[in-house]
Symmetry: C2
DNA sequence: AAAATAAACTCAAATAAGTTGAATTAATGA
DNA sequence: TCATTAATTCAACTTATTTGAGTTTATTTT
């Protein structure tokens, strides 16, 4: 669901143009190699030219040229020479956080979240803007205003903004009528990426919350060292972001990751989607809210939930107990199907509640994921908190400029 | 789990070499572009130079050079000019089936299956060789003998063999002790890809049965037009091959696709793996065999099962009825998680039994996969039959030479 | 029937990257 | 101090694609 909005009007020839994978040439190789170098330094800073050359298979000369380029563009900063070993000490380079940044937006019916994240992964600006209306015109107006504020406050030049990521409620391209209460109205006939790209005059990537959250963790969180992992996102419902070999998995129609409506308890609790025993009916904020309401407790905001947890409220504990087993099954399933390095939990639940939920998980010992050489836990908690989605939106843009695609060409 | 066996002995430097994505240069661009052109023609034959240039973004001149190359190498054959339109009629090209081929092996404890598939997707040779022993030495000997026979019978020159794919029981790198009855002994300390590559003196790819089957369908079956799909493979247990954007998904440790042991019926039938309600306990040949045995029927071979099905044996019908609901849930889950274009069923069950099983599936209407614009059924039956795995092994090699990786570089 | 148009294709020179191999620089260790 | 090791740079080279002009072959229009 990404779009580098360019309004190319290809001739409408009838015999379906049948796109192929793009061919490569010197210029595209250049882009790729710059990403390779940036990505390596991002993951292994500080690093010297020779080291990068060895890791990438490029000649030291090529790396040298690329680094000179990237340094001139402000993406890299020299860190001096590392001494101690034999031979000429390598000049070490690291990402220059002031070199570039990206905007991230989370658009909801009632509010707009804005973030500005630099290529070092640091959050330079973050704000919440209440919205009266969330149609394309109003949203675009607020987004443009928020972008200007964010850029001004960050002290960065506008030319240093790589682009914007936008998270908005999906799924797109298909009507599911799953009683979605968080829908955006007025966007039916608008391609958000193209529309917002024209408004902001910069590249725009539109993505769902769970995937954005996953990338947020990868760029600046527990996912830093992870190449292949899943992010289970507690939003209104439950979402899943899948990253495999550093690439986002979107599925054939951009709707991959609908983990909320997989059946974990056949014949179990009825779900709004018409099925019974959906994971979302047990393990989601909706389910939590329902259980609290049944117990006569009213709590919706994260702060209220955190307070309940602090106080050891029985209704919350009961929810944790009922949410953990279905989630355990779902995670075991993810491990079996996707063989990830880890599964990350995060989103709009307080960290401590998530930690508590993770502690209650019971994952099968006989699993492809229970490797003897594991270094990190099978399940991790995300560290970006409630702004994960907006952060992730920005992170997506950064990820895009830093992460090369799989193979060379 | 693929390995272009090259015995490079990198210096064992302590500070972990930290591999990066490979950089690109002119030569790698060349490889990539040849794959792009081959892949396009393979999917859209016959095609002309200009058409390929438009689809790939390459200049017509570049395409022209590449096609000249590929034709000289024997990979392409001209199909004459297509008339009827305005302008100079384009010279059409198609894959030349005699240009190259790949060997495929399925190694089991008791037998070795061999196939030779050409780049057109046609099976040129196929055989089953009983094995007395399946250790590395014995297997390598039989594989080399079988390779020679296959190549000789195909009438192709040895230089036209691109490589070999090998399917052997996994999972690798981890001991699961799931009561696997189909294990291979003596391979614990051997890297099969390197070992067999040295023996055969050609590149060798080792893969699991389900993934191989998926690629078989993609290269020469119902998966022809599919880029993102899943293959549920009935082997001894139950396997899953995942293809996303034309790339095989192997997971972080090469063990993705363990669909047999996801829990579809919590608290249900006990499984050898220690869990209860695993999909494999219901929907697999093991489960079928068990149900037949309980009914006093003994049938193991595909022919026997087909006969039972033909006769409408109650025990078989009972199995179908018990296998379909768990499988439906599993497929719905795959659809929700991976949003594939289709899910393909295949492997070591007779086609008619698979068709019958598919007919009994009950998939939720409210699904991201139930798109209004669907052209093909959500679930398809594979067409490669019982030799799928060995075919797929060969297909993997062909897929590798024909399918470029995602983005240019 | 001739001219105009359209499209595919080829030729030759230009270009833009990465590669190669020799030379240079700057540290450690004997 | 001198040999060794390793990073880096310089300048010439290589490779594959692009560019732009020109050619071929068909259809459509006049």
């Amino acid at each position: 669901m990404k779009a580098r909005a360019t309004l190319s009007s290809s001739s409408p020839s009838p015999p379906a143009p049948a796109k192929a994978t793009a061919g490569s040439n010197a210029e595209r190789s250049r882009h790729h190699n710059r990403k390779v170098v940036l990505g390596y330094i991002s993951a292994n800073a500080p690093a010297g030219r020779a080291e990068i050359a060895r890791a990438s298979g490029l000649s030291t000369q090529a790396v040298s040229n690329i680094i000179a380029d990237l340094e001139a563009d402000g993406f890299l900063a020299s860190q001096g020479r590392r001494k101690g070993a034999r031979g000429q000490p390598p000049v070490q380079y690291a990402i220059n956080p002031d070199g570039a940044a990206a905007l991230g937006f989370e658009l909801r019916p009632d509010a707009l979240f804005v973030t500005l994240v630099d290529i070092g992964g640091a959050v330079r600006h973050s704000a919440r803007i209440p919205l009266a209306a969330s149609g394309p015109a109003e949203a675009a107006f607020e987004i443009m205003k928020a972008a200007n504020t964010a850029i001004a406050q960050s002290g960065l030049e506008r030319s240093r903004i790589l682009g914007a990521g936008v998270v908005m409620p999906g799924p797109f391209g298909i009507e599911l009528d799953r009683g979605s209460e968080a829908e955006l109205h007025g966007w039916a006939d608008t391609d958000p990426a193209v529309f917002l790209s024209n408004a902001l005059e910069m590249p725009v990537i539109v993505e769902n919350d769970a995937t954005a959250a996953a990338i947020a963790e990868r760029v600046r969180g527990v996912g830093a060292g992870l190449d292949t992992f899943c992010f289970v996102y507690f939003g209104t419902g439950l979402g899943l972001g899948i990253v495999a070999r550093g690439q986002v998995m979107r599925g054939a129609f951009g709707n991959a990751g609908e983990i909320g409506h997989i059946v974990v308890e056949p014949g179990g609790r009825p779900c709004e989607c018409g099925q019974s025993g959906c994971l979302e009916a047990y393990t989601s904020r909706l389910a939590l809210r329902r259980m609290l309401a049944e117990a006569g407790v009213k709590a919706d905001s994260a702060a209220e939930i955190e307070a309940l947890h602090e106080a050891g409220a029985p209704a919350l504990t009961a929810w944790l107990d009922s949410a953990a087993p279905p989630l355990s099954r779902a995670i075991a399933m993810l491990e079996n199907l996707l063989d990830p390095q880890a599964v990350v939990l995060g989103g709009a639940l307080p960290d401590r509640v998530l930690d508590d939920l993770i502690a209650r998980l019971d994952l099968p010992a006989a699993s492809v994921s229970n490797r003897p050489d594991r270094k990190r836990p099978r399940v991790l908690r995300g560290v970006s908190g409630r702004t994960t989605a907006a952060l992730g939106a920005a992170a997506l843009v950064i990820h895009d400029t830093i992460t090369p695609s799989l193979e060379p060409s």
